[in-house]
Symmetry: C2
Subunit: 114 residues, 2 copies
DNA sequence: ACTCTATTTGGCATATTTGCCAAATTACCA
DNA sequence: TGGTAATTTGGCAAATATGCCAAATAGAGT
């Protein structure tokens, strides 16, 4: 069976994308794209239990999306790669497409018809 | 508690990203970024049960990522928005960053927060 | 040492997701 | 009309993910 290499790649990609696949985690990434924040600050913004937020952050860190930095008592998280937000804006294109059914992103691929 | 608007957005984003958060589905999207394929063709490439593949495709369609087109007996799926692959390539940057811990996505475009 | 505050971890009950089988559906063709 | 290939759907058991509580850990200041 071919495609073995592509399948491995897909697995690695899935691991990262899964880490983003949660409303709270996306929200936090969005916030962190503007400024670094501590767990407490994120917890307030999110409005969930601290332990829950901590686990979300841990997941995002393990996936290579965030890094943490100790600052005395606190831990600040920040985006490793700002391109994540570009990525997410691309998702927004899909959302628009869903709503308007006209077309969404950059180029029509020549396969509309509907 | 503010951020209500951003949270709604995060929810919409999560719906789309969740649809991508599976190795098989990413693999299929990758294949479809090169050419449209039928369910049978995708099933062969993926190596899972047809019903499983069909359900994956249905999910991707419902999320606005794919559209289907009937062709006689068959159904061909294709990417609605090619930008999805950019998104995925950005994910690759994160994967590299994970492996090399050096730096990854030295941005091709004007980025750096926004 | 004791006390806060901040963060992480363990445990667990409750959702959600996944993937296979079998059965239903749809379209083509003889 | 019957037969066959292509696709979807229903159902269900097994695997994962989620979120809260309680308990553990870490740092700063007294």
């Amino acid at each position: 069976m071919s495609h073995e290499k592509e399948k491995k790649l897909a697995q690695a990609r899935a691991k990262v994308i899964k880490a983003l696949a949660h409303p709270t985690r996306i929200f936090m990434v969005d916030l962190l794209s503007r400024e670094d924040l501590s767990v407490t600050e994120l917890t307030e913004a999110v409005g969930a239990d601290v332990s829950t937020v901590s686990k979300h952050l841990s997941l995002l860190k393990q996936s290579g999306i965030l890094i943490d930095r100790k600052d005395g008592n606190r831990v600040h998280y920040s985006l490793v790669c700002p391109c994540i937000m570009e990525f997410i804006h691309c998702i927004d294109d899909v959302i628009y497409g869903e709503a308007e059914r006209g077309m969404s992103c950059l180029l029509p691929k020549g396969s509309e018809a509907r």
